[in-house]
Structure formats: C-alpha cells, structure tokens
Symmetry: C2
Subunit: 202 residues, 2 copies
C-alpha cells in the first residue's frame, strides 16, 4: 500500500507560513517579501545540496494540498486561479486540493491536474491513493492541512525541514494536534536546513 | 569574552516541559512519569551515543537556571530545597538561580554552589560571566528563562536537542520571543535525538 507522507518546511518555532496571505504574498508575513523565499532558501539558494530531498518530494504519485496553499481565492471560485506555479507546475501528477467549493478538474501542462475535493480530508486522501498507484501520496501543506491529517491519524511519515530562524507568529505545524509518538528515522543537514524524517507511531 | 549558550531539549512542537510541575513530577505532564525521562531519553538511555553533547554542557564555567528548573518551591524559601540533583549535583561549578526571593548561597558537594539572584536576568548573567572566568556560561532552562534571555538579546549560541515526539501542550521555547535570525552551525543526529547548534545573529 502506498505511504502517506507529510512534507513541510518550518522555522524552528514551528511556523510554515506567516499570517496575512495575499495574492502577491503567498507566505504572508514570512519575515521576508512574502514569497516564502526565506523559508525555502534551502531549495532555491542551495538546490544542489538538497537535490535528494527535492527529488524525493517530486517522486510522489499524487499530492494533496489545502485551499490556501493552492491560492489566495476564498469562498466561491469567482475568478480564474490555477495555483501559484504557472502553466507547468512542478508536480507532474494529480494534485488534490481541499476546498468547500466544487470546481471541475483543471489540467495543466506537464502532467499536473488539479482536482478539487469538497468532502473532507479522508476522501481526498482516498482519491489521491487511487491516483498514486504504487507511488506515495505527499501531503504538501499548509500547516492547517498537515495538522488535519495528523489529527486524523492518516500520516505514516513526517518529513520536516527545519530552517534556521524563528518567525514568532504564523501558521504552525502541530497546532491543535494531539500528542504524537514518533520514531526518528533519518537526519541530514545542509547549509541552510536540517532535514529530519519521522515515522508516526501513533 | 565568554560565550553565552542556551542549551535545551525540546519536543518538535517546541515544549521543554509539560504543565503542572510538582515535586514528584519536575517536568509535569511530560507525556510520561513527569521525570523528564522521555524528553531526556537521549541522555539517559543512550549516553554513549551522546557523550560529546553532554560533555559540552558539563564543560561550562557557570550555569544559569530559572526558579522552576531549580525546584517546586514557590514564593518564600519556607522549606529546605537544594535542587533536584541530590548532594553532588552534575554541575561542578557555580549555578545562578533566578528568583524573587533572596537566599544565602548554598554550597554542595563536588564544586557546585547555588547562588540566588533576585535582580533579574542581566545581573544574573553578569555574575555568571564573572564566575565562569574564561569558560562559557550555559543557560540551562527552563523555556521561560531561555526565552527571557533570547528576548534580551543575551544569547550567543543556541543548542537545541530535538526529540521525536510532540507534547501538544507545555512550556515552549521561543514563546513570546521576537523573531530571531540564526545561522545553523552544526547538526548531529543520534538514535533518539537530533542536535542542532545555531549562532544567534540578531
């Protein structure tokens, strides 16, 4: 059976994004320009060092993300929005977007199709599992989405990328999630990050 | 000049202890028996793996800790209490305890003397620096004490020991601390922990 993996970058005080997201600032008050560049400097400024971790993300058979990770549109889909990642998104696989507002699937270039799921986290995961075939399902974020899956006991593995700053305020991984027992299975550090993989025991 | 180092073990949701400390449960609701054994399993269950980190702590010239780390007595020193660590504590150096209640220094076996400082975090640090000679000063905790020193901009280096569980609730490192810029200077993992050392940039 495919593995369900949550993969998220967080400051060492647990924030995966700042508050006050807007279209121009997808990561909100992230201590920088709102682009998430500071949180994801390990990916973008030192890609060679971290190729293994990025390749591992890309290898998933299907992805799940929350509505806020997908875009700044709230409520009904009253304007065109096809994600922050342009015409050829880096997923190259089905992406299931959690939303309360139904929408037809949106195919993109390069094999990505956005599917919009309105009946909750478990049904979204079931569809992602089906779509992933033998591949893993990656729960990408944001924190609120990861937290819902952790609370529901649906995550097998947690891949955290700890980045060296604190944000002080923002959306936090683990907020409201009941205590988790974990097994640390791998750690690797690079210049701008420490990657740690945990198996979720309960 | 001696370096000021905060050294603290935390769950990956930032907790260094649970709530509801008592004399029998110094770490309160820590997900175990309240002894902190679960948080500090890396020290006690796998000491050989982590000797370098423990030796580095022991090497400090002086230590600072908060009143709650020292003991469960609140308010006036109305009963005998000489720390959780018995007659021969593992510090073997001066330990400055932050408190609002004056008390004479308490010498112990093995070179540890507890000094009680009532005029705040900066004076406590100044005294610890003097006492440390050329050695480093280690701010041991708890989280509330570390947070006060971080907020005051008095920490040069932060040594975090990330342990593989979440506590869900407890005293949290970084709570109320303004955003910190850090440089990750070293990472090492062992079976039950990932050690990361950060230089505090601002």
């Amino acid at each position: 059976m495919n593995k369900v993996i949550a993969d998220i970058t967080m400051s060492i005080d647990g924030c995966s994004a700042g508050h006050n997201q807007t279209e121009k600032r997808p990561f909100g008050d992230d201590g920088g320009d709102g682009s998430g560049a500071r949180l994801h400097a390990w990916m973008f400024d030192t890609p060679e060092e971290n190729r293994a971790e990025v390749d591992r993300m890309s290898a998933a058979g299907a992805f799940v993300m929350g509505r806020n990770m997908f875009g700044p549109v709230r409520g009904a889909w009253d304007r065109e929005w096809n994600g922050w990642w342009g015409a050829n998104p880096p997923f190259h696989a089905p992406v299931f977007v959690l939303t309360h507002h139904a929408r037809e699937p949106q195919p993109m270039d390069g094999g990505t199709t956005y599917h919009f799921v309105t009946d909750g986290v478990a049904p979204a995961l079931a569809r992602a599992r089906d779509a992933a075939g033998d591949g893993d399902v990656l729960i990408l974020g944001g924190a609120n989405t990861v937290n819902q899956y952790l609370t529901a006991g649906l995550i097998d593995e947690l891949r955290l990328h700890f980045v060296p700053f604190t944000l002080g305020a923002g959306t936090r991984v683990f907020e409201g999630v009941p205590p988790l027992r974990l097994e640390q299975v791998a750690t690797r550090s690079a210049t701008l990050v420490t990657h740690v993989t945990y198996r979720v025991l309960s």
